[in-house]
Symmetry: C2
Subunit: 332 residues, 2 copies
Amino acid sequence: MQRITIEDVAARAGVSPTTVSHVFSGHRPVRDETKAHVERVAVEMGYRPNAVAKSLRVQRTNTAMIILPDITNPFYPVFARGVQDVLRGGEYHTLLCNTDSREEEERAFLDEAISRRLDGVVFMGYWVTQPELAAVAAAGVAVVNLGERFDDAPIDSVRSTDEDGARDATSYLLNRYGPSVALIDGTKTAPVARARTSGFHQALSAAGVALRPDHEVSEDFTRAGGMRGMATLLDSASPPRAVFCANDQIAIGALDEARKRGLAVPDDIAIAGFDDIEAASMVQPQLTTVHNSPDALGAACGEMLLSRMTRQYEGPGREVVVPAELVIRASA
Amino acid sequence: MQRITIEDVAARAGVSPTTVSHVFSGHRPVRDETKAHVERVAVEMGYRPNAVAKSLRVQRTNTAMIILPDITNPFYPVFARGVQDVLRGGEYHTLLCNTDSREEEERAFLDEAISRRLDGVVFMGYWVTQPELAAVAAAGVAVVNLGERFDDAPIDSVRSTDEDGARDATSYLLNRYGPSVALIDGTKTAPVARARTSGFHQALSAAGVALRPDHEVSEDFTRAGGMRGMATLLDSASPPRAVFCANDQIAIGALDEARKRGLAVPDDIAIAGFDDIEAASMVQPQLTTVHNSPDALGAACGEMLLSRMTRQYEGPGREVVVPAELVIRASA
DNA sequence: GTGAAAGCGCTAACAC
DNA sequence: GTGTTAGCGCTTTCAC
């Protein structure tokens, strides 16, 4: 199991390490005969190139990292696959990292990306600030942010029309069920939560409905969070007639809680979500939600990252916005 | 953006690179005063250790790879998180790789693991053979296989009682709905498909029911596959009374197809799945299925891999079997 | 078309 | 408690 190096191969093939290197890289012509011979010897000896040594030498790792808050939220695997599909085409490999929405983990992975000299990172986080992310870019790692735009750092951003989508969904609820519409929000520090909350507020203002603190609860972006949020709302002095949830996982949890209490959806209480994950159309009643496009978002992130990693683009931060649209089903 | 090295720090702090190295590693005592000074200088200069150089030197990357067939199957993210949770405790990082069930991708990732000198890999695949995986282990990468056991390679394996679970589910269907029970299988080369198919066959034999080729269709392990499989079965000369599906995604697809055709489940046709993913209890009717424990499987894989990567264990292949049990709900 | 040799940034003998 | 130095395995100038 001691490892064969390029020198071992060179020695056995009777050529220089330089030649062996060029046989593999194709960076300069090698006589056909020599080439064939070297290749044969390499296979015979079971030579495996050492990517670590190569990376140290060429100062590139051909690897990108995707940092995500929750891999068990079905939105993200689809997103990640979108990124990977375009990166693979560019000969880049991808590490998928899961922060579990934890602040320390977000920082730890970003740190890792710098130490390991990764070529790029696609980041989606709840805690890390713009200057911190800018520092990662300054350390020479290409960065694409899934979320807010960056104005003074060379960081591209990709986002959905979260604010508009939330506004549309809330307006729909308001029109159909009257002014008593509540919000179950996700992790409050999340930029995406802020955007959706803001859309929710806009709709209320537009309809001339006053904000009610007792009609806004904040949990995390999970099914369990949705159950807790719904319980709080239903136990309050004046339960809402309809509720807008910051994502589908929350909405599904809210549905669970309503069902547990024997409440009919939407007749007793209407529920809408955000994302349109696959499960949104599997639950009963099917979820009214805002359709989001994880694959398109992933592909956009992959493309921007690729263009930066290859240095095809080196300018200021760009922004891609992918539309998210209300889809009305049975739950509201 | 030119990078600060340990030598730059050493020069500025007026010590040797060795001392700087030991300040960070703690591998030998450094005078408190010196240590504090070096740390301050390092921060001032924005020094970031280069993990690539370190890996080349120490011949370890502190990184493991998880290779999975389909990250969008909710079973796997949970599994992956189980692995990561234990690996993180051992200071190991984890790359998550998605083969999309493709043969070339399985090989490509395994190859990558060797080139990048990863310390270990948790593998779940459909195509790669035992000898091929043994070669990865022989190249010095610790290997844990999610699936079949290995007898003559130092590769640990972790699996569910797939055969028993499939047998139990099929027997239940047979008892309750009579002998007309069909199978919608997943990708045929998958070891897990073979095990579940074998359990299905055992139950038929035990009940004295003859195998019927027209009651066995093979698709892939997806919702779309389940729809296609169900369509084939329903379009056949003698549609079955009940169907056992090789996983829940397939079962949910089968449910979709039945609903599309206006068939009542389980009254017209009964459906059972395998895995008990979260969605199994979200669909209507709720899925009768075999409960699998992705988190326990993941943790077991993580532990075996860790013990091998740290060389705490270096013996022959071990095996962990996690029980999978029938859970009866409404679909059958 | 081929080779010699320097060096990527780090660690760890082996000195003292 | 600290420093000198030799590589880890590769790529790439520079030379022929």
